[in-house]
Point group: C2
Chain length 231, copies 2
């Protein structure tokens, strides 16, 4: 009876990670972070999906506006808008949240340890890795090692695993994998700007649009919003 914790932000990647985990684990806990993100609508949308799936879901609060230094956690730094993907550059964007995934993985590891769960599942992928250092394979491995040297695992308890099954995948490949697993993306929010409807101009919206185009399908979020009479 193996169990796992999925770091579930409510976006495309972690929604797919949730379905991937449901296919391979007897018990799946969804864990979402309400970290003071501008787009906290994702927390509400994440809850909708787990309610629909009948999954246990914890939302942990950790206020990263205390840290600041990012367009996602400091209201004074606007989210950059772009005309197209050609405007996105390699390197660290303003939407990088300092060591966010280190903080969230550390909290997830603690939450899992306190409940006797050993596996953590994340939706990290190749699309984010040129811009966000805390999504890369090297980071995942280093963080796993830090967790195992700073928890009961260091004293003989079963090791904690940080699994990132999509770390070599493009977003369109993740979508295909998710659809094959029956994933419902109609409530998954990616936009950084804070609304349920995509702004269409932040880097996250542009990457999501590209992924659905490459998958040859309409984004189910757009389909739902249109049906509901939204733009």
């Amino acid at each position: 009876m193996k169990s796992c914790v999925v770091l579930f932000s409510g976006g495309i990647d972690s929604t797919t990670a949730l379905y991937w985990a449901l296919a391979g684990y007897a018990k799946v806990f969804a864990l979402t972070f309400d970290y003071g993100q501008r787009h906290s609508v994702e927390v509400r949308m994440a809850r909708r999906l787990t309610r629909k799936l009948g999954l246990p879901h914890a939302v942990l609060k950790v206020d990263l506006t205390q840290v600041g230094g990012s367009a996602l956690t400091d209201a004074a730094i606007p989210v950059p808008k772009h005309r197209d993907l050609g405007e996105l550059k390699a390197g660290i964007p303003l939407t990088y949240v300092p060591f966010r995934n280190g903080i969230l993985l550390a909290l997830a590891a603690a939450w899992a340890e306190a409940r006797g769960v050993t596996d953590l599942v994340c939706g990290f992928n190749i699309v984010d890795s040129p811009n966000y250092p805390d999504t890369r394979r090297e980071f995942v491995r280093a963080m796993e090692k830090a967790i195992n040297s700073g928890t009961k695992a260091a004293f003989g308890a079963p090791p904690i695993r940080v699994r990132a099954p999509f770390i070599e995948l493009e977003k369109s490949e993740i979508i295909r994998k998710g659809l094959a697993l029956g994933a419902d993306y109609s409530y998954s929010v990616s936009c950084y700007s804070g609304g349920e409807a995509p702004c269409g101009a932040c880097s996250s919206c542009l990457l999501r649009k590209k992924a659905w185009r490459e998958a040859g399908l309409e984004d189910p979020l757009i389909t739902r919003l249109r049906k509901e009479g939204n733009p």
Copy 2:
């Protein structure tokens, strides 16, 4: 003009770390975590010292009662009381807070990164390492590596250093070092039970008592409390 962030809980070890940092850095930021600890009096006492020293001091909130699993963060788990140090065993005690120092170092790294500070200073020592995996040299090294692979440092920014100058020292040696640096321990609180006056029976009180006995001095906290008419 080198600067650093000291993880300053207000106990003996991190108070010494603060004075150690003041002797070696041009600019020292104290960082304290209000994490839902039973002994949150330490936060108030920590503030007293930095006010006296005129140091910049940030207190970050991160509610680890959401994680639980420890006598320090779950009111339903009592702090174990002991007659003497002989009762303390190797292995993980109920006062271990799941991956606490992983979480706090991750937050400190983020806070430092957002402010362009590269050095983090901690008071980890040899007294805690048999019981708390997240105070050992191996953990510090692994965490430093995780931080450097998940922050701007991974993309070419100056590396972040996690310094633990007392990691091979006994508490009495730390005290001697601190006193040589002029450290004021009269407001430093170690007791897990939650009061300003030591309960005298938790593991932290027993270890502190032993350290002052070994140093051949009266604990300045006790001296102050007696002068103020406390027990």
